[in-house]
Subunit: 186 residues, 2 copies
DNA sequence: ACAGTTTCTGACCGATCGGTCAGTTATCGT
DNA sequence: ACGATAACTGACCGATCGGTCAGAAACTGT
């Protein structure tokens, strides 16, 4: 069972993430939902509102994860546990993450995107409290953008549909390497 | 010294990469160039043609690098040398790469994008000729998308402008790790 | 059966899109 | 000085955009 509003949210999210927010018309969304454009605007007062509704759950979920993270002791185990939770988050909200990573800079006027940006900053600050070297920042950027791109490629391209459990395990390993590099110097 | 056509190419590339192709109007490009929309269409016969002209040099450059790569013996030294050249390519053509990574899937009808896609496949095939495990593909995706995202973030966000040489060195190291993981098993 | 509410639709609006075209301005070879 | 050509512009076109609105259609409780 699903409501019309939920269907629209799902369809819009998928289109926004793949074709782009600007390139996706309300008519197109209505067409995919089997409705008229007017009906879409009945459930959501504007295109912006539809975007906000589409990404809101992901932002809330990430906020919750970060709340937990910051409340725990700053140990290696906590950090490793977080990486697992973060990978689960990426797998559960791949379209939203992809939308944010790819089109975030061009959606500056949408309030909900600012919240998402703030969450990323929070995330980065946790990993690099004092020792924020250039390499740390670069590793963080590669990990975040790389994971998002790779998952998006898996989704959009044909790319044999890897079982979620395998994707999860491998991605946790890769992010672990990137965010906790073997200290070779110092 | 620079011609009007070159200016338009540069401006369009920057706008397409940051604001998105669909979200960038010819009027906007003309405005940034201090011209009228008609003048833009005088130098480039269509918006598509402008996009093609903007990304063509990067695609040609990548093609050249791949030609060289495939002509050399398949040694570790060749592979390491290639990573250096590839990082230089990323640094020299960051907007183009970012445009392709972020909006490639939504620009399917533009011929030049297909050529770029083919180049990425060529690249992937070089790294994983026979032993294309799922993890290999994922590492390749993370490396490619991660490098592109990180460089784009450096450009668009404030992010203290790291000297090119430092960015280059660190990025070569990161890609080296991702594309030639320490074999822990087997 | 009927009133009330939710859901949905077509017609319409102003704005903006990419693109065309006739004509003006600037540049240049001779 | 002048004709040819390159560069540029404003007016205009059909199409599509996001959004409004009055009303039809469907579903609800009584």
């Amino acid at each position: 069972m699903s409501t019309t509003a939920e269907d629209l949210r799902t369809i819009a999210l998928e289109e926004f993430a793949t074709a782009g927010y600007a390139a996706t018309s309300l008519h197109r969304i209505a067409e995919l939902a089997g409705l008229s454009k007017s009906s879409v605007l009945y459930h959501y007062e504007s295109k912006d509102a539809l975007l906000a509704a589409a990404v809101q759950p992901a932002i809330t979920a990430l906020g919750t994860i970060l709340d937990e993270l910051e409340s725990k002791p700053r140990t290696r185990a906590t950090r490793n546990r977080f990486i697992e939770e973060f990978v689960d988050f990426l797998l559960d909200h791949t379209p939203e993450v992809n939308l944010f990573i790819n089109q975030g800079p061009s959606l500056v006027d949408v309030p909900v995107v600012d919240v998402a940006n703030a969450a990323v900053v929070r995330l980065a600050e946790y990993f690099f409290t004092t020792t924020t070297t250039t390499e740390d920042w670069m590793r963080f950027g590669v990990a975040l953008g790389g994971a998002a791109y790779m998952l998006a490629s898996q989704r959009t391209m044909g790319f044999e549909p890897t079982p979620r459990e395998e994707t999860r395990t491998v991605l946790i390993g890769i992010l672990g390497e990137l965010l906790a590099p073997v200290k070779t110097k110092g």
